[in-house]
Every structure is written in C-alpha cells, then in structure tokens.
Subunit: 533 residues, 2 copies
C-alpha cells in the first residue's frame, strides 16, 4: 500500500490500451509477466484486457482467477463496454463476460460526446445514459467496484457540456465511484484541460480520473495538470505504449507526481525500481527501450557537454533535475573529443573503475581516448568498450575468451543474380585452434555466424547473447584522411544491454572489433557472476 491508500489511484492500462500500439502482441504468458512487474512496482490497478472481446484477454483473466497470478499490491481490472442500445443488461453477452472474468474491478467505457452517441452509436443521449446507469448498477449489484471511462470527454464537453456531464451523472447514479475523463483523440493541451477538470470537479463533486493520449506530445503534462486540477486517479501505460502517438507514460507520470508534486503515489521503495521495470517491460513488448525517455531512458541523465564536466563532478545537483538514483537510473557522462581528466575520472567511477588512485593510468587513458576519438572512435554510446579500454590502461583486463588467427569473408553476386555471403574464421579458444565457416545475409552476419559456430562449444554463455541493434556511420571528414567506418553494436543477454564500438577503414573489420568487444565484455561479467543455471 502507498501512504495515500485508496485516496490516489495509479491505474495501469498497458495490457489493454498499451497493447493497441502497432507491433505489440502480448501472449498470455507475456501478460502475466507484465502484470507481475507492475504489481511489484506497486500500482493500484492493473487493467488486464477486455474479456469476452479478445480470446487472449479472456484466457488471461481465467488463468489469473485460477491462481496463476498472485497480486500483492494491485487489483485486477476488466475493461468492457456498457450494454448495447435496446438490450437488457443481464442478457448482454459482453457484460456477462465481464462478470465471468471474476475481476474485482470493472472499468466501463461509455460515450460522452453527443456526436459519437448520435453518429457512431446511432442512439440518443437518454438511451446512452440508461446504458451507462443500467450496466454500472448491474455490476455493482454483483459486488464489483466500477469505474467509468468517459470516452472523448474533453471534445464532448467542449461541444456539448450538458451531454458530457449527464454521462458522468448516470454512472455515479448507477454506483460508479470514479469517473475518468478521457482525451481519447489526444488533442488537448494542459492549460485548457486543467480548467475543464477543475470545472467538472467543482460542478459535480465526483471523484475524477484522467486518461490522456499523446497526440499533441502532451499526455504526461496533461495527466499531471489534471492531478493539479483535482483528479485523483491516473490511467497510464508503461513507456507510453498505445495507439497512434501513444498514451501517458506511467514512468514519467509517476516520476513527476512523486518528485515534483510530492505525492506518495507508489510505495516508497518502488521509485528506485522505475528504470529496471521500464526496461523489463520493453523487453516483454519486444520494443527497443527509448534511450531518451524521461526519468528511465539510458540517456536521461547523460551529459555530453565536456565544458561542464568539472562543474558536474563538484555539483551534480546543479545539472540534474533530480538525483538519478531516485528512479534507479544513473548519470552517465558521455566521453567526447572535449573530454578531459575530470570527465573520464567521473566516467570511470560510474563504471566501477577507480582512476583517482592511479593518476598515471588516468593520464594515459585520457591520451588514449583523445587519440582514438580523433581517429573516429566514439565512446559516448559505447560504455562496454570504454570499460575494456580503462581496464587495459590499469592492466586489470581479464584474459580474453578467445583470440583471432584470421578470417576471410567472400561475397558473391553471381551471374544468375544470387547474392551469397560466406565467412571463415580461425580462432583459438580454450586451448584449441578452431576453424568454422558459415553463411549469412551479409558479410557481418556471416562473420558473426562463423564466430558463434567456432566458439559455442567452448563458451556456454554465448547462447544467451544476441545482437540487439547494429548502427553504422561512415565518417567522411576525419581531418582529410580516408573515410573510416564506425560501428556500434548493442548486445543483450536478456537481462542487460551493453554497447560496443569498432572503427576501421573497412566496415567488416570495424564490425569485427565491436563484436569482439561485446563478447569480451560479456565474458568478464560471466566470469564475475557465476551462472544461475
């Protein structure tokens, strides 16, 4: 429980509205994993889906009811629609499915914009109100707690406030205890939206919630402004997943409510879990985390300005809006051409490497980094490669897991138009000389495949390591010398992500360097942390 108990609701709809995002397709197992992570974070409500409408959602609620999901903090919510026009509520199959889901809380969506009532539902305001009232009452009588999502509320209120308010009144008459004002089309801005929320609270005295879409890039701001105007229930999705431009991002909303408005909306110890949970939820959604996401992005507290590095070292609170530790993030300092001793020392500290006690090593590391960056290397996004370099300067490197003798890659565009890539590597690993050949979609893929084929029998952890992202940049204006290619490789072992860099005139060799660093980095961690398997 949060110190605010039921007086403030953090309501997550990742599993329902978030799943509307293009590209997301949760399995039932995924949904259970998402719910566990959200519950661990301490949100008050987890909207699990629309039972009866989507088979996977029906199954999710069935498995939750069967004991596959034990929640410590949250209550499970089933989402659904009011009864159809002209149908008795007890006979509406969709409403019965909400009951059958056994979820203790039901959120009903209803129209509150007269244009939608007349043109999409093709009914009138009175019947719409009856649909809301009947359905809420039916569910409340069955022992459910009911919230109302008033769809298109802000547009509807602007067009015809009377109809919009009548929808809310019908819900409360039926026994709903929160009416959620939805900016369904996402076209609102904070200043006007806050006025409407305050107006509704003042006119009705109802408990008001807020649900915002991000079509003006203001979903987070709108949600927070609504709270400042009197809303005590916020509907969000993890990482802002959702249809079109998405929804209000749970992590930014919670970050703002806690650190800016001082509202204890999550259990105290949960705040430091935001970054971890955000990344874990991105994994499950199979979407690369947004490195520039507020609060939880890997760059959210990363400073590039070499200029201020010495000042940052002395007074980090002058250059960060909050202490990154608060949300489980950290202050990565980007190493750039302007980098000096101060920023490299700071960076080392962040990577767990104490350069302060070894001024000689620091001096040579600064020289080395400057030299490499002048040649096109960039460590700003490649912490893992920088870590290896610094350890090298301190002579603290582990023995590399393998060494290369040679490789050869052959690319053929044959007379019949076929494109073939084949690579052969000769490496030494675990005391043996291994030769392996593999094909791939392209030269780097073939080389990676051949290397894996050679090493896998000897390095058990290799199987868990995958290439997450691969970026290539051709650097053409390197002080008049020939162009060089910079390759960034992001790798993952399912738990962590790390980035390595390789630079060379030859793109394949640059890729090879980055791939090798990625494996050497993983080997050092695998050596430090015994497998849990």
């Amino acid at each position: 429980m949060t110190t605010l108990g039921d007086t403030f609701h953090v309501y997550d709809t990742t599993l329902r509205d978030g799943a509307q995002r293009e590209g997301i397709s949760y399995s039932v197992t995924d949904k259970l994993a998402v719910a566990r992570l959200l519950d661990g974070l301490g949100v008050g409500f987890i909207e699990g889906g629309w039972p009866g409408a989507l088979p996977k959602d029906t199954e999710f609620f069935a498995r939750a009811a069967a004991g596959d999901l034990t929640l410590k903090h949250a209550q499970l919510v089933a989402f659904g629609s009011t009864r159809k026009a002209g149908v008795k509520v007890a006979e509406d199959a969709q409403v019965r499915a909400l009951l059958a889901s056994q979820a203790p809380v039901v959120t009903l969506v209803a129209k509150s914009d007269r244009r939608h009532i007349e043109r999409a539902l093709r009914t009138d305001v009175a019947e719409n109100c009856a649909m809301v009232r009947d359905t809420v009452r039916f569910l409340v009588d069955e022992g459910r707690r009911v919230f109302l999502d008033a769809e298109h509320f802000f547009d509807g209120f602007a067009f015809d406030p009377d109809t919009a308010l009548r929808t809310l009144e019908s819900a409360v008459e039926g026994g709903a205890d929160v009416v959620v004002l939805c900016d369904t089309n996402g076209g609102r801005l904070p200043l006007g939206l806050a006025e409407t929320v305050a107006d509704v609270v003042a006119r009705t005295g109802f408990r008001v919630g807020i649900h915002c879409q991000d079509d003006t890039s203001c979903a987070v701001a709108n949600t927070v402004a609504a709270v400042q105007a009197g809303a005590t229930h916020v509907q969000c999705t993890a990482n802002g997943y959702g249809e079109r431009a998405g929804n209000a991002d749970l992590f930014a909303v919670v970050g703002n409510l806690v650190t800016k408005l001082g509202l204890a909306v999550l259990p105290h110890e949960s705040l430091a879990e935001l970054t971890r949970v955000s990344h874990a939820l991105a994994e499950i959604a199979n979407i690369a985390p947004d490195s520039h996401q507020a609060y939880v992005g890997s760059s959210a507290f990363a400073h590039k300005a070499g200029l201020h590095a010495s000042a940052i070292k002395v007074d980090p609170e002058l250059y960060n809006h909050i202490d990154p530790d608060t949300v489980g993030n950290d202050m990565r300092v980007l190493v750039t051409e302007m980098a000096g001793r101060a920023s490299l020392e700071l960076k080392g500290r962040e990577l767990g490497i104490d350069l302060a006690r070894r001024p000689d090593a620091l001096t040579s590391a600064v020289r080395k980094v400057k030299e490499l960056e002048a040649g096109g290397w960039s460590f700003e996004a490649a912490d893992a490669s920088l870590e290896l370099l610094l350890k090298d300067e301190l002579s603290e490197s582990d023995t590399p897991p393998f060494t290369l003798e040679s490789y050869r890659v052959v690319l053929d565009h044959t007379r019949d138009g076929a494109i073939v890539s084949e690579a052969t590597v000769k490496v030494h690993v675990a005391g043996e000389r291994v030769i392996a050949t593999a094909e791939g979609n392209g030269p780097v893929h073939a080389l990676d495949a051949a290397l894996r084929k050679a090493l896998l029998p000897h390095l058990s952890w290799l199987d868990s390591v995958h290439l997450n992202d691969y970026k290539v940049r051709i650097l053409t204006d390197q002080h008049g010398t020939d162009a060089v290619t910079r390759v960034l490789v992001e790798s993952t072992d399912g738990e962590r992500e790390w980035t390595t860099v390789g630079v060379h005139g030859n793109i394949v060799e640059a890729s090879w360097l980055a791939l090798c660093d990625a494996l050497v980095h993983k080997a050092s961690r695998a050596a430090a942390t015994p497998s849990r398997g």
Copy 2:
C-alpha cells in the same frame, strides 16, 4: 515570411543544442543540408552552432558566409558565451569568433541562477551582470541582433528571483531584444512554468522567449504553455533531438501552435511539409524516425483495426485530433509520404518529369513506390533514384551505360593482422565484356574501385564523379521479416550533388544498387549536357 513576421519567432537549435544528442555527429555537409531543410520550412532563425568553440561549427559559418548557404526565410544565428569574468570583451577570443562568423544574429548564453554564478563560474552577481551587459553591447555596436539565453532561469528564479531578473535586465540594458527563459535541467511542469513566464513578462515588459528540455516529458507542453503565458519566441529542435531526454520537438510545438492555438507561426504552405521534413532530418541525423512521434510519426494517425474501423471510415474527424493531411501525414499504417498521386506528381514536376499527362504511368509509379517503401526503401532523401524510377515507369529511361554480369568481393584479415579488401567485377560496357579487379579500404570501396577501373576507359565523365557521403541504416522492424540494410549514397561531380538509395539484406548489394543508380543518373545528365572539357 509568416503572417506574424517578427512578432513571433520559431527558432531552431537542432544544429547546436540538438547536436548534443548522444549519437548525433553532423558533418559540415550535413549541417548545410539541415539548414536548407529548416529554411525551406520557414523557421525564422537557425542556430548553426558555436563558432570558435567547435571547429566544424566554425567551418559551417565560414561556408555559409562564402555562399554555400542561401537562406530564403531564416536568419543564421551564432551561439556563444558572454566574455569571461575579468576579461575585456573586445579581447575575448570566443566573443571575437562570434563576430568573425558573420552571422547577423548572436544568441549569448548566460547564467541566471545565483548558485551557478557562484559555484560554477566562481564569480559574483555584479560581475555576471557586467559580463552580460558588456558582451551584448559589444555585439550590438558591431551591428548584430542579440538574444540572451538565460540558462537555468526557472531554477534560478525559484531560488533567487532578484538575481535571475538582474541577468535579464543586464542583457536588455546592453541592447538584447529577446530574453529567453531556459529550463536547462528540464525539471519543470506546465502549470508552474506558465505562471513564472507570466510573472516575468508582467514585471519586466521584456520580450520573452522559451527554451525547454524534456526531462519531465513536458518540453512541448511547457513551450506551448509559455506561449500562452506571453512568450513570443520558441526554441526547439527537430524531432526533439538534444541532450539527455532531449529538447522541445519543433514539429509538435509548431503543430500545437498552429492547429490548437491558431498562431500562424510558419508560412501557410509549410505545415503540410512537417512530416516530410521531420523524416528527412532524421535521415541526416542517421536516427530512425520515431514512428509514434506526435503529428509526424508514421503511426501518429494510424488506427489499429478494430472497434471503430467502420466509424472511422465514415467520420474520420471524430477519431483524429486534426486532419492528418494538414501536417502532410496520413491515416495509413504504412506511411509513404510520396506515395500519394498528388505529391508524386508534384515531386515529378520538381524533377522535370511530367506525370500529369500520363495518368497510367502515375498510377503504376505510385504502386511501385508504395511497394518499395514497404520493403524499406525511402525516397525521401534520394531524388536521383526516384527520378530513375519515374523515368522507368514512363519508359523514358536512357540505355544504361553498363550492365553487370557478376561481382565477387573478398575480405581478408590475415594471420599477420593485415586487412585486405579485393573486388572483381565483370561488366558489359560500350559493347565489350570487361573484367577488372581492384583493392579498397573496405568492400564497398573495393567494389567502387573495380567498377571504375572497368568503366573509366569507356565513360569519360566518370573521372569527375566522387562519392561525397555514404550512410547506412539497418532496418530491423520490417514486419517480421529479416533485417534489411538501406544505403544512401551522395555523389558529386564538383558542380552538383545527388543522392541515390539501395536496399537489400546484404549491405554490399545495397551499396552496389545505390552506386549503380548514382552512375546511371550521372550518365543521363552527361548525355543531356555535353561535357565542357
């Protein structure tokens, strides 16, 4: 000019503050291309960088002054710092570099938070004010228009309003005509920020600008709220690029100001260019466009098929906050900016190809472009390839200057550490079958070299053609299929530059396709325009 003229400033700082984003590293050519796109959009001011501090920025201003950049709408702005404490302004090298840049407008950054003045600058408020006043006056006396970026203004104003306001006053005393309030640490929310802006405007009567960072995910909302509170100058970056969580996104800010607040801040015809320009700028930054970006993302108006599909078809305006056409976007899941008949016809006209008289060819060209874009091609930044495609559809292609039989590329990392790339091409040119082999720095270079060796004796113009820039993007989310590689090649013959595109699962083949298009394009021009040699 916009209908608002100088009364409202859209001020872009992509090239300075945007370049602080991790991973962005603009070449001078890139910077010129970015400036041209922004000018085409009609922004009022383009901050080009920090001359004197960064060699590339110095070169950018030099090339702009030398005539490499002709602006129709925008004024070029040099960014820099006030004189150092205890130094005469006329003797401050950094201030002199601002003059030397020849930019007509200078934006000076100054401290306005007493803690920063005392702890980072290690001076006092009086000297800080003198630094601001002296530097502004010096530049104004030299004929420059000067804006002041009051760094950490909101934090400083909250801590010690007197010091914060004195910084602004010193700038205006010196002759600055806009004071820009910066939320440098990005920790502010719209409701409080708007109050401060209104307070400053009321107390000082100064012309106020706004510069927001996105650390609370509220940069766009904060910028718009500041305008509602009296700011008439907004500093933004393309796609919100910037340090940490980034800056206020130019496209969302402009979208909101125009469509929500009714402010004509860009030339009327520019609004429909937002989507295209956003994507082109992402290409140049070599960052995958954010498909969920407000207004301009490919998913920003894409509805997941379901509940409302038929209703959306009948009444799209009930389900979109604006008509997507307004910002050059559309409601399809697969956005193909150029794939509409009208825009492709327009683009053809721009390239000197009359598609209006051939509706059948236009239809098949639209189909072809859609098909290719679904497979990862992008013609946004590759006019020369698009021109070839359109000519093909009109059956107006010239006979290609050569045809390929086959190629082979071999890459060796030898036992002694040498890296060797060798390519052999077999081509047919001028009625002959030619085989040539060459080495290069990498596979693409070797292939290019072999091709040149084969063709040069037969194609006299080839000698003038050089590869200017080469960009590679790995596209990982192509609807579940394997990743493909997109290569953009910019070529030059010393007079013109043109860009071609190639897409394939294999990077070398993708490069080959783009290289071939580049030569075919040049051949068609060489045929049309006899050599002057």
